[in-house]
Symmetry: C2
Amino acid sequence: MKPGIKDVAKVAGVSPTTVSRVLNNRGYISEETRKKVYDAMEEINYYPNEIARALLNNRTYFVGVIVPTVTSPFHGEVVEQIEYYLSQKNYKMLLCNSKNQMDTEKAYIDMLRRNQVDGMIVGTHNAVVETYSKLKMPVVGIDRYLGEHIPVVSCDNYAAGQMATRHLIDKGCQHILCIRGNSKLKMPGNNRSQAYIQEMEKVGLPQMILEVPFIMENVEKQKLIYDMLNAHPEIDGIFAGDDSLAVIALHVARQKGINIPKDLKIIGVDGTKQILGFVPELTTIQQPVKQIAKVAVDKLIDLIEGKTAESCMDLPVKLLEGQTT
Amino acid sequence: MKPGIKDVAKVAGVSPTTVSRVLNNRGYISEETRKKVYDAMEEINYYPNEIARALLNNRTYFVGVIVPTVTSPFHGEVVEQIEYYLSQKNYKMLLCNSKNQMDTEKAYIDMLRRNQVDGMIVGTHNAVVETYSKLKMPVVGIDRYLGEHIPVVSCDNYAAGQMATRHLIDKGCQHILCIRGNSKLKMPGNNRSQAYIQEMEKVGLPQMILEVPFIMENVEKQKLIYDMLNAHPEIDGIFAGDDSLAVIALHVARQKGINIPKDLKIIGVDGTKQILGFVPELTTIQQPVKQIAKVAVDKLIDLIEGKTAESCMDLPVKLLEGQTT
């Protein structure tokens, strides 16, 4: 049994009301009594109950964060930064990994509501948009459209696609493959391949797009890319929608004995610390992860405090040139 | 303002007591009334308050999880799995990234206590052992000693070191460098280098140990390894205490133009999905991450339920042979 105010009062030899007044800094309390109470708290290991306070104030300072999985480098880094910025404002994070299962995501949403979170930050890939719209609760999407009135925070996805495609064209690529996720999901990230299409049209180069769903296993993703490179040996450039796809393409190409970057150039998007550490040779367009996390947290807290919050989808990206282009 | 029982009662046209009886399944309630209450809950978006129930029952079903950072592949995967196993038992995870700052870790411990977590699972690198011992609360360490009576869950670290060292010896290495973390921290992982020392003694080979603290920046780690390889060109094998160190060593060696595996063989420890995806060529000793997470969660719940729990530090590891040895 966790110790309560009554236990503190007993050990300190004062009334529970006195303990409560010390904790809430209310009314006059002598220095001696105050010390007695704090000593008793220390002795029996009592901590003021923030949960009880939350219940009284109808405000828990809990924020639910739902991502596909923290083992994806982008989401891992986003979660780390969100947790940091939330903790700076005394908010606590309830982390949920949806594994891209719609049922799991819905169950998490219910759980978060029963636990009275003040709001949610969501970066999942599922199409449970109607669920979020109906929540009547502060919600912010990270690179996801979650409903008409839910603000979205993301990098400038169009600029990312444009920068990547132009980089490959500038390096002399003529047959550029764009590898992207499932186009049926309406996501801000779709602007990456949209920019690819428009840049290729501008210079009159042929477009090739390969869809590789995020939820597929790595071996299946490898197979799709392997088959594509076999069917189209003319491919001399790959713009992958994210670094994980770029690294898979890189390994497939190496297995096929293709000389990189001489015969095939590869560029990704994300530029997380992890990818930079594990695959430093990769050329990529870096997302401003810290900024994305900070803006998302700020907007969520604005909503929680009853203010309005608009989407912010133009956080700046930058080219990090490695040895794969 | 979140809707409460009174609001449900008003919309349903019944008394708050009736709503409470429906929610708690107490006493006779007609089907008609029950439906009215559930319809009203749906209409005004009311969710039963688990926080209030937690307060009544002195049990929150919150578990605090403190790791250095979810962006480390091992901790990211452990956190994902812990969250999964906790959610299977209706527990919720409050995630804390200590960034290996002792003050941050202490502040998190206080925060978790004020929020009445039922227990904690801790995998940090800091020496705040006395803090955990004094908690008088269920705590489980992941690959960390946290105090005399706190159970530890880990892989068989000695077997990992033995398997890795023998593998390099079997492959013909004569001058094997062991790269490990800070030896001053008393951690189960130290058994990895302990096994290296004993295996090298057995076969009469010279021992070389390089300490590379976990908290160092990657560029500093690279520099240390670079300098070591310069000073000892005879090194023909590297046993890195974890995959992140192994990958850094791999990149340093490639930069120096060393032929891998011909002139230098490298093996790590962890074998997470991420490393297997990003650096599939790495030979490594794989930890059973799912099992570690499951056992840690089971032991914590045992402690929460008043049962006893012993340490479990011999979860099996296995060799995954890639192209770096």
